[in-house]
Symmetry: C2
Amino acid sequence: MAKSAGVAIGYLSERSGLAVSAIRYYEAQGLLEPWRNAGGQRRFHRADIRRLSFIMIAQKFGFSLPEIRGFLKTLPGGRTPTPEDWTRISTGFREHLNARIETLEKMRDNLDGCIGCGCLSLPKCALYNPQDQAAQKGKGPRYLMGDSPEPAAAPEKGA
Amino acid sequence: MAKSAGVAIGYLSERSGLAVSAIRYYEAQGLLEPWRNAGGQRRFHRADIRRLSFIMIAQKFGFSLPEIRGFLKTLPGGRTPTPEDWTRISTGFREHLNARIETLEKMRDNLDGCIGCGCLSLPKCALYNPQDQAAQKGKGPRYLMGDSPEPAAAPEKGA
DNA sequence: TCTTGAGCTAAAGTTAGGTTTAGAAATTAT
DNA sequence: ATAATTTCTAAACCTAACTTTAGCTCAAGA
């Protein structure tokens, strides 16, 4: 099988539903490596439709483009995912998904412990279990819901 | 209880763990309404610590700042959440969380149906159940993983 | 009083994942 | 041959949720 003429970017766009600009962007991110024809236009393998589909699916599972690039690099010879590759990788997806579900279930449990108590100090609340992705960007400890490390000092600065 | 002298932004920052710039940003987004002292500096209610904590928690549950502003507006008189408010709102959080968990569980089920098959056409795959937030931005149908609506025509444009 | 430290504003920068625009060149269709 | 599509590049723009910067002003302590 010699490298055939290849397909144009518009064809991939039509088949995948992705915008042409998105496909170019993926190339810029190293997820695709088209070659160029004599006129300088991109030409892709037909199999890149599968590659794009893989990208879209992996995104739905919450992976970033650099992570997806990592998956694609585990494919020997930079090939497009085969059924065997898919089995291996999707098993990894499953674990990723399970971890996310577990995190949310823990949050729900924490929340359940808080709904009734109304303490607004939330010592067992979700915020004290920062295994979610979003938090802990500031550096200091966070004294929440009025919780205080100091007894009752009141630094009323102001007007 | 007259409106006291109020606390400065740095105090809120220290107590909440949020950056000063973040608190100013929240004000700009309408989540807080400090007043100003004679020198033009912001002064906050002590109770705004709870307000900030509420914002952080709601963010962890996946709500955007406009949504959180909406929650805060349901509080009579623009007050900071009381224990009763918290009970009511956190019950809503729970539903939101349950919906997210359900979505992920559905994805997992879909994935399970796909791990073994290796078809790479994924007729039952997650991508065909776009109840997740991210997909369906393009308009056309998406023929995935090489799936084709046309039999075998090969529009090999190119070099 | 002098000197830090804290606060102020407006605007620009950041990250992710793209889209839009503009103008030119290549390709396809008639 | 000509017209209509596609494609090309580079750079700017987009959203969310902030941070950073620059240049000042305010407040607090010795």
